[in-house]
Assembly symmetry: C2
Homo-oligomer: 136 residues x 2
């Protein structure tokens, strides 16, 4: 069995903010939306249903926990959760805070326009608030 | 506690094909993609993390089962799973079979173009094959 290795495009487009039991929790380098990416640290996974039952339960619990925290800290109108993988095949789950009137509301964020860089202080504040909420 | 009632837009845009333990399993009236919609039959739910722990486990298992079956019967390049809800707030999960070169590949299907009606025989064949696979 090969070892988990993060896809290079995910590595380039997002930064690691925490390592959970199963997933790398990462923040997308795009200030248009609070946008998290969760990557199960298992090799050769493409579809959620390829995970073992135990890993699938862990992924569901971790995504739920992160989504609830993201909603609470951002007061988002709606959380969008998606596992697409049409471009990057390594299994990853997007968790995004959406707001009425945001850059592509109410359409999906994937494939829309170009990433906009974060002000590093704002990004750090978001990460700190999220990590505080997750640790409670 | 109010009773579950299907959102009128989901009712209009998709047809019921099976009632699972938790979800209505529905097929979207759009022949561009084999596109299923799963609606937990629980009142007043908007986000996945609002479900009880038991319901959440059921939803995860049902989505997994359906996604795996859809991939197998369609030989899709990739299954897309998403819970957005920016327009219709009633909690629902999309499970879509995607193919290289399909109508909006590799972009997301949501908000893209207009639905195209099914040839009713083709639609029925897809539903029959899916139901057979799910019942095994």
């Amino acid at each position: 069995m090969s070892e988990f290795e993060l896809d290079g495009r995910i590595a380039r487009d997002s930064d690691l903010i925490a390592t959970l039991d199963l997933c790398q929790l990462r923040i997308q380098n795009d200030s248009r939306w609070p946008w998290l990416v969760m990557v199960p640290q298992r090799a050769d996974m493409t579809e959620i249903f390829e995970l073992s039952e135990a890993d699938h339960a862990l992924l569901s619990a971790e995504v739920n926990h992160v989504a609830a925290a993201l909603k609470e800290i951002t007061c988002a109108t709606k959380i969008n959760v998606g596992a697409l993988g049409n471009i990057v095949r390594q299994l990853h789950v997007h968790v995004i805070a959406r707001f009425e009137g945001d850059a592509n509301w109410p359409g999906p964020i994937w494939g829309y326009g170009s990433a906009e860089p974060y002000d590093s202080e704002k990004r750090q504040a978001l990460v700190n608030t999220l990590m505080e909420k997750l640790s409670r």
